[in-house]
């Protein structure tokens, strides 16, 4: 199997809190991330695709196409935003690293044909990151 991984960056703000929970409960679950004044991260997102090499180009997917797709469907939507205030996807879904990774997965799956989306790795800080993808039973 051959895979290609490309890393992108964006910065965004968020508050980790459920609107249907009290402030105490949100602090108990999310800790200081529940501060209602918000905080932000310099995120990086690693997008991994798999598939067959195009015999003509020797590429799984052209970087031009992958970059343009990720910019339009992910970076332009997330970069410089306050996630749960500005994106309808995070009105109900708390913008944890896990949920942002699934947002990126849904934004890109099926879009890279004939290559297949294999994995999304979302890194929130140097110390924590999450991965989501085909190994979770998803169809890329």
């Amino acid at each position: 199997m051959i895979t290609l991984t490309r890393r992108y960056r964006f910065s965004a703000a968020h508050v980790l809190a459920r609107r249907d929970w009290s402030s105490e409960r949100n602090y108990a679950i999310y800790g200081k991330c529940a501060n209602s004044n918000g905080h932000g991260h310099n995120y990086s997102v690693e997008v991994t695709v798999r598939g067959e090499l195009n015999p003509e180009t020797g590429r799984l997917v052209t970087l031009q196409r992958l970059d343009a797709l990720v910019k339009a469907r992910v970076l332009d939507r997330l970069d410089g935003r306050w996630l749960e205030r500005e994106l309808p996807e995070f009105e109900r879904e708390v913008p944890t690293a896990e949920n942002i990774a699934r947002f990126v997965w849904r934004a890109l799956k099926g879009e890279i044909s004939p290559a297949t989306l294999h994995r999304v790795r979302l890194v929130e800080t140097e110390n924590n990151g999450v991965e989501y993808g085909e190994e979770d039973g998803e169809q890329g």
Binding site: I2, T3, L4, R7, Y8, G58, T62, L63
Partner: protein, 133 residues
């Protein structure tokens, strides 16, 4: 058990097809297709997979692995032009994907049978390609 060893080397290349005009090359391969070529500090991570020798507690003699990586990869590609100084890209485009495939085959032939599990080649910190057996 998996064991990974890393090596870095610097090389230049041009990602293009000589049978396409400049415009088409630029559309498909981007700035990497430009005439003068360009270079990278490549990082290569080589992962072996196999049983641990119970006498030595080792999967492989690291010195042997280091020598294979230095002769097969460093010796062939470090400070070379992939298109002009090596025979591997005469009939295939010098993409990271093709380069990783070439590296996998070279190492697989030089290492004890079936031990090579994966190569990960990173032309830049933002791009990597993995070939897994």
């Amino acid at each position: 058990m998996l064991l990974t060893r890393r090596i870095d080397f610097s090389a230049s290349h041009r990602v293009w097809r000589p049978d396409w005009d400049e415009e088409r090359n630029r559309q498909v391969f981007g700035p990497g297709s430009a005439g003068a070529g360009h270079g990278h500090n490549y990082v290569l991570e080589v992962t072996l997979r196999g049983p641990v020798d119970e006498d030595t507690g080792m999967l492989i003699d690291l010195k042997q692995l280091k020598e294979v990586m230095e002769s097969e990869i460093g010796g062939r590609f470090d400070h070379r032009n992939l298109n002009q100084d090596t025979p591997y890209f005469r009939d295939r485009v010098a993409t990271a994907e093709n380069f990783a495939g070439v590296i996998f085959d070279l190492l697989d032939a030089a290492l004890p049978g079936g031990l090579l599990h994966r190569v990960r080649l990173s032309p830049t910190p933002d791009l990597s390609v993995e070939v897994v057996r």
